[in-house]
Symmetry: C4
Subunit: 246 residues, 4 copies
């Protein structure tokens, strides 16, 4: 019995993760972030290094905890009969580079994608943004023709990591990939979806803000500090516990 415990534990954790990732994928639809199948969520079990991700091109109605695909960090399918999301190499690269990330989301949500197509970072213009993103949401450079032609999805992850550099990925838990669309992440799949919703809202409001007042610049850095830090870190006081919004 004792010998089997670790295997059983991993089995239980993966079972729970499959369920969480399945529900997180459905949450994309509940929050109106996806058209058809254009979005995917993954989550990782750091102990085993196994990633659970949505299968490619399957309708949200047909998703289940059971048809999620399980891969290792090198991209080998460990469990599942369906092809994983075509964006899997991007997800895996983010998990490899940032051990603090537990969930990744990609969508083509309309407002954030419009900023990506415009090739501009989403500026931090108010406290809604500051509550979850500790500064502008960056826009990557365009991929080179070579990066597009070979290992495109992997290179998308590489360029994201290049843009983040040494910054804390959880302080600004999302990015827009130029000419493409938003990626977000978090401590787990649920937080990554939450951040995808926030990106869409602030992208919507940022455009309206600039239409009302084209001269507007970034919000006061003191206000950025205040709002971000009242929700995150040791001195957070929003919600029912200090870790509520981490």
């Amino acid at each position: 019995m004792t010998r089997n415990r670790p295997a059983q534990d991993q089995h239980e954790r993966l079972r729970a993760l499959r369920h969480q990732v399945w529900q997180a994928n459905l949450d994309l639809q509940r929050h109106n972030l996806v058209t058809f199948t254009w979005g995917n969520v993954s989550g990782i079990d750091r102990e085993s290094g196994l990633v659970v991700i949505k299968p490619s091109g399957v309708d949200y109605d047909e998703l289940s905890a059971e048809n999620m695909v399980v891969l290792d960090l090198d991209g080998h399918v460990i469990e599942g009969d369906l092809n994983p999301s075509s964006d899997t190499p991007t997800h895996l690269e983010l998990y490899r580079v940032y051990p603090e990330i537990g969930g990744v989301v990609h969508t083509h949500s309309k407002h954030a994608t419009s900023w990506a197509q415009a090739g501009k970072p989403i500026p931090a213009l108010g406290t809604t943004h500051a509550d979850y993103f500790y500064g502008d949401i960056p826009c990557t450079r365009a991929l080179s023709d070579e990066e597009i032609k070979h290992d495109y999805e992997l290179n998308t992850g590489v360029v994201i990591a290049e843009t983040i550099g040494d910054n804390d990925p959880l302080a600004i838990p999302g990015i827009i990939v130029k000419e493409h669309g938003p990626f977000s992440w978090g401590k787990n799949a649920d937080k990554a979806v939450y951040n995808a919703v926030v990106m869409e809202v602030v992208a919507d409001m940022a455009l309206q803000t600039l239409q009302i007042n084209p001269q507007i610049d970034h919000l006061n850095p003191a206000l950025l500090d205040k709002h971000y830090l009242r929700k995150h870190g040791a001195n957070a006081y929003y919600g029912q516990s200090s870790s509520n919004n981490e």
Copy 2:
């Protein structure tokens, strides 16, 4: 028995107020004014000076009349196990300064928040606005770094009151706080929610109006008078009683 009557009366009033404030918080969601938990409504029982407000960071689905938080005007929690909304000091300041206010609402509704981020008052451009707001909806100045660093939420209320000055808070029952978002109020929690909806609608239409015609200025003051006064005050004739929209 007689001795207990006042205590029983207060108990009944608070019970009714908890129910009203709970439902008013749900109304924010029904009117599409909130994403996640980003909004809060409070109401006050003026006789006892007790305020009922939404708990902080709790999903709307999990709210109930019972888990609303009751505080006195100094911010001491009188009833409730959960932390009150982090914006509570702003609500309390408004109740202290304006005895005519019975309910307060704060949201990050998208259109009104965009005007707040743009740092511009929402101009009175038509009768929809004039029906409920007797002039432009003002935008506060930005808080100073000091005001942000210490007692931020209280200072938000202070700056709102500074902006309203000696004007009647019920004549223009809402404001946008620069770089932040809208606050509204009314004779009770329901009216405050009603005014939050109106602010969002007129904020949406004001931007569209300026996009159609950037030269447009304020509506005719005679029309502002007509529409506001046919719904408010002694000579109101809209609805089924003269006090219908007060």
Copy 3:
């Protein structure tokens, strides 16, 4: 028996009209044209000259065929305990001036109201517009201070009629009142609601069109003729009968 027939006929017609006007008011909500109670529909029984209209300030949920208000063309309430819509004098003026009109609608729908606030006619830019409106949807002049101060709602109708002049009101079955919002009409209450929906859609698209191409002008008059006339008049061939869209 024979003597009572005409009274019975009128009773039946009014009963049917109450039902139609009640449902037409609910249709405003189904088509997302109204916030709260900000819209009203009326219909007229031309034989008796009686008008059925929504009561003022009553929630859509509480409307019924029974609580609709019945008035004569001079504004005397014939049946009903509630106050009629405060916009009733506008409706009555339109019925008095244009015998071909059988239903009238007023809303504050967001896109059409934005054009009204901007003080610009909604230009005929495509076939969607041409299918139902045979030219630009005009914008009235602003009412004078005198017209606002005395008999405001009546004068709103007078200024609408002044704008239409000798043109056929059914060829362009709607108008926007400057600084206020849209009115529409039709052969009956249902058609008037239909035209209110069309106005909102074409108002939305007209702004987007001008944002994409500020140089755009009106659509080809030959195309306006083609689309309008394939749906209206003796040579109509859209739908299942030539009178389908009249």
Copy 4:
């Protein structure tokens, strides 16, 4: 028995096609592409050359597989008591010119129609577009007065075909007709509806993109190739089979 087989086969195919076309018409409504009856879908059985199309001006609620209209490619009604969509001659022309097309859709969806009214092609600005349209979505020239006055609906099809020229209609499976609105197509009715949805989404995002950054130009051609070809053709790898998105 044997003699009847071909007739039975055709009967079965038409029965299935009626069902598919009926459901595809309802999908227009489910995807919010239509107001009232303003959209139509058809499908063709290439073996018999028979086309199934929505009847004209009938509410979506009243549509059924049974009341779809069946015509031959010359426009003779073969089955059905109702008038076919007034846009039928446009559909037929597309089927006659492009044997690879199995379904056609026309709507007045708001964003795509706004581009049509603006008379501008919808530019390929990002990967969402590139996933389904291998380049800009063209805008036709305006029809001449003569083309409008005689055989208008047929000439709409002729001008669409003139615009596509020798290009592969399935590589860019949609177009906007100037001053009118979008048409899309695909291997069958379902794919045509899918492409109508994509057109509406990319039309929405293209305007927002240009509002954020008016200087933006087309996406990198290498990225257009990558995204289009990972979903279409021999080397596709998106979804669960290479033909998933054809």
